[in-house]
Symmetry: C2
Subunit: 424 residues, 2 copies
C-alpha cells in the first residue's frame, strides 16, 4: 500500500515531547503543529476559502455527519469531491461522523454493528456502520479520513450535568439497557472501537490517496487509554488520533490524558488531538507531542461577538467597548486589526476600532461575525506560528512572555524556568 501521507519531523524540542514537522498529502502539505479550522457543512462559517488561506490555515476540517445529511455524499462526489465542492484545493480532513451521531441526535441506538440516529435535517432514521462511514468519506474524498468509533458519554449520564440531556438519552438507549453501568459501557465502547477500526481499515477503498487515522479512546481512565492505544496502534495506519478529550473535563484532566496517551502513539506518525481547544490546552498537548488540532472556537466565538486576544477574550456585547478606538489587538495582522495590510481601502492604514466591531455586533450586521471569525482564525494561526518557533528555537520563555495565558499550558518546569528568566 502506497501511503497517501508523508510525515517529516524537522525538529524536536529537547525539554518537551514537542516536535515541528510537515505533513504531505495529495492536496499539498501543512506544517505541524497545525490548527485546522472547522468547515462543518462544507464551509468555514462566514469565511471564503481565500480569506481562510490568508489567515494562514493550511488544512481544513469538514464534518462527515453534516455532509452526509445534506447535501449527501453522492452529490459531493458527482461535483468532484469535497475540495471542488467548497473551492479549497488544499488538504482536507473529514471526521467520521461518529461523535455527532452520538451527541447531536435526539434518538440513537448502538449495537455491535453500528449506530442508528435521527437526521437533524429530515427527522428520518439514519443507519451508520463503520463500513458506511468509510464509504461516505471515500465519496467525499478528503485527504485524511477518520475511523468510526463508539463514543459513549464521557461522564456517567446518571451523575453528569443536567445540560447533558441528549448524551444521557443516548446512553440510556444504547446497548446496555435497564441497569446502566457506566464503567461497563466504557469498556464495551473501548473494545468495540478497535473492532470497528479493523472493519474501517478493511472497508477503505481509497488507501492510496486517503489516509485513514485510528482513534484512541478511553476517557480519563489511563489504563483504558493504554489498552486502547496498544490495540488501535496494532492496526497499521498513516496516523492516529486521541478522541474523547475536552468533552467536559477540566484542563488538568485533559493534560493528564494527553501526556499519557500521546507517548503511547508511534513517534514517526502524525498525532491528532480531536476537538481541542483553548490555547493552554493546545500548548500542553504540543509539549506532549501532538501535531494536529481542530476546534470550532474561533468561528463559534466570533459569531457570538467574542474576540480572542493574548490577554483573554473580549466580549463585544459589553458596553465598555462602545467608544473604544483601539484595534482588537495591537500586534495582530488580521483584516480587522490591519485592514491596510489586508488590501482594504482603509484611510491612513488605520485599524478598525473596537467601537466599530461592537457597533456591527450590536446592530446584528453580518460583518461583525465575519471580522471576528477572521480575527480569531488568524489568532489561532499566529499561536501555532509562535509555538512552532518556540519548538524550533527551544525558547519557551520567549513564548511565555508573548502568550502569557497560553503558556499556562507549559509543563511546570518550563513555566518556572521562564519565570526565572523573566525576573532576571
Amino acid at each position: 500500500m502506497t501511503s497517501p501521507l508523508q510525515f517529516e519531523i524537522e525538529c524536536e524540542s529537547s525539554r518537551t515531547s514537542a516536535r515541528v514537522g510537515v505533513v504531505r498529502t495529495p492536496h499539498g502539505s501543512f506544517q505541524t503543529p497545525a490548527f485546522m479550522p472547522v468547515g462543518t457543512q462544507g464551509t468555514v462559517k462566514g469565511v471564503t476559502p481565500r480569506q481562510l488561506v490568508e489567515t494562514g490555515a493550511e488544512i481544513a476540517l469538514n464534518n462527515t455527519y453534516h455532509l452526509l445529511l445534506r447535501p449527501g455524499p453522492e452529490l459531493v462526489q458527482r461535483l468532484g469531491g469535497v475540495h471542488a465542492f467548497m473551492g479549497w484545493d488544499r488538504p482536507i480532513l473529514t471526521d467520521s461522523g461518529g461523535y455527532q451521531a452520538y451527541s447531536m441526535a435526539d434518538i440513537n441506538a448502538v449495537d455491535e454493528d453500528g449506530v442508528t440516529f435521527k437526521s437533524i435535517v429530515t427527522g428520518r432514521p439514519i443507519r451508520m456502520t463503520p463500513e458506511h462511514a468509510i464509504e461516505v468519506q471515500n465519496q467525499l474524498g478528503a485527504d485524511i479520513i477518520m475511523a468510526f468509533d463508539d463514543c459513549p458519554p464521557s461522564i456517567d449520564p446518571r451523575v453528569g450535568p443536567v445540560n447533558q440531556t441528549r448524551i444521557r438519552q443516548a446512553a440510556m438507549r444504547d446497548s446496555i439497557k435497564g441497569s446502566y453501568d457506566h464503567d461497563a459501557r466504557l469498556k464495551i465502547a473501548n473494545e468495540r472501537t478497535v473492532r470497528w477500526l479493523e472493519r474501517c481499515a478493511a472497508a477503505h477503498a481509497r488507501p492510496d490517496d486517503q489516509a485513514l487515522f485510528g482513534i484512541v479512546q478511553g476517557g480519563t481512565d489511563l489504563d483504558r487509554r493504554s489498552w486502547s492505544a496498544e490495540h488501535v496502534c496494532n492496526v497499521e495506519l498513516p496516523g492516529y488520533a486521541i478522541g474523547g478529550v475536552a468533552v467536559g473535563e477540566g484542563h488538568d484532566d485533559i493534560v493528564m490524558v494527553v501526556r499519557h496517551t500521546a507517548a503511547l502513539l508511534p513517534r514517526d506518525k502524525p498525532r491528532y488531538l480531536m476537538g481541542v481547544g483553548y490555547e493552554r490546552d493546545i500548548v500542553a498537548a504540543v509539549c506532549a507531542g501532538i501535531d494536529m488540532f481542530d476546534c470550532v472556537l474561533p468561528t463559534r466565538n466570533g459569531r457570538n461577538a467574542n474576540a480572542f486576544t493574548k490577554e483573554g477574550q473580549l466580549r463585544f456585547r459589553n458596553a465598555k467597548f462602545a467608544a473604544d478606538d483601539r484595534p482588537i489587538e495591537a500586534d495582530c495582522d488580521c483584516p480587522a486589526c490591519d485592514p491596510a495590510g489586508n488590501g482594504w481601502p482603509t484611510p491612513d492604514g488605520r485599524p478598525l476600532t473596537r467601537a466599530y466591531l461592537r457597533h456591527l455586533c450590536v446592530a446584528r450586521e453580518m460583518l461583525g461575525p465575519i471580522l471576528l471569525s477572521l480575527h480569531n482564525l488568524r489568532y489561532f494561526q499566529r499561536l501555532m506560528v509562535d509555538i512552532r518557533r518556540a519548538v524550533r528555537e527551544d525558547d519557551w520563555s520567549w513564548f511565555a512572555a508573548r502568550w502569557p495565558r497560553a503558556a499556562e499550558g507549559l509543563p511546570a518546569e518550563l513555566q518556572a524556568s521562564s519565570n526565572t528568566e523573566t525576573s532576571r
Copy 2:
C-alpha cells in the same frame, strides 16, 4: 465657495441623453453612470470593503437615519468620520435620513419645522429638522450629502395597498389632519422641500469638502416635478437628485417621470436617481441622462438566496438547482463564478456550482448570502461597465444582445434599431 466635487462629462450619446463621465471628490473619483452599493449601518451587508472594491464599486452609500440612531454621529466623528469608521477611503454618499424617518417609523409627525419619529432602536422620539440632518451629515463626513426633504406617501394612503400601513399612519399624522387631502399634501411637501433645501444649504458647515445635493420631488405629477425642478435648481448646488421614484409605481411611470425630470436638471452637474433599481429602470434612466444610482437589490436579494443573471433572477431555494453543476452565470468574474480569478485556492479554476450555492442557502450558511451578495454586486457593476461602453461607442444593439432584459429599458426607437440589426 470652492466646490468639493468636480464633474467632467467625457462623452455623450448621440441618440439618447446618456452621458459618460467622472466625478471627483476629496476621497477620489468615480465613473458615471455609477451604481452605489448601500451600506446601511456603516457596512454593505456581508461584504468587506476589500471585497466591495473588487466588485468594481467606486462609491458607497450610507444611511444617515441608521447611523444617527446607532452608533450616533458624534461617535462616528470622534472615530475619524464615516470613511475611517468603516475602513473605506473612497467616495461615500449619505442620504439625509428623510425617507427612512417617514417610511420606517411607526409614529411620526411632520410640521413646517421638521419631523418627529420614534427610534427603531430605543423607541425614543427623535426630532429631525433640515438643520439637524445637515449637522449629522457634517459629523459623518461623507463626500456627498443629501438635502432633508418632506417625503409624503407617493400613493394616496386612503386608496393605497394595505401593506402601506405605516405610510398611511404617517400621512394621517402629518400636518394635514382630519380630512386628509392627498393632492394638497403633495403640494405642501413639494413647496416645503424647497424651503427646507434653503435651510439645508444655509446650515451646511462643510461646503468645501462635502457636496450637498438637492432633491426634486413631485411624485408622478409632471407639472409638480417641473415646479420642483425649477425651484430646487434655483439653489446653486454641486448636484441634484430625483427622489420619490420607484416607490411602488411601475416601470412605465418611472420612465415617464425620469425622462421628464432629468431633462430639467442642469446638464453640467451630476444627476442622481435615488433608490433605483432594476436593470431596465437603470438603462432607461441612463438614456434619460441620469449619472448615479443606488439600490439595496444586490445585497437584499443575495441574502434572500436570489442571484441576478442576464436571463433573470435565479432563486436558490428552488430544488431544481440541487444538482446543477453550472456556475451562477457562465461569463461572470465574481468570486463564486470565477473563484480562481479571485484568488481562491480552488481546484483547476473550477467555478463554484449552483448546487453548492443552493446547499449553502438551504443549510443557512453565512457564505451563501455572502457569495450571492458578491455576485449580485458584481453583476450590477458589470451592467454599469457595459452601459458606459454602450454610451461611449453609441452601440446599443451590442448592449441589447448582451443584456436582453436590461435592454427593455431602452427607448423604443433604439430597441427597434437593435432588433433590426439583430435580425439582419
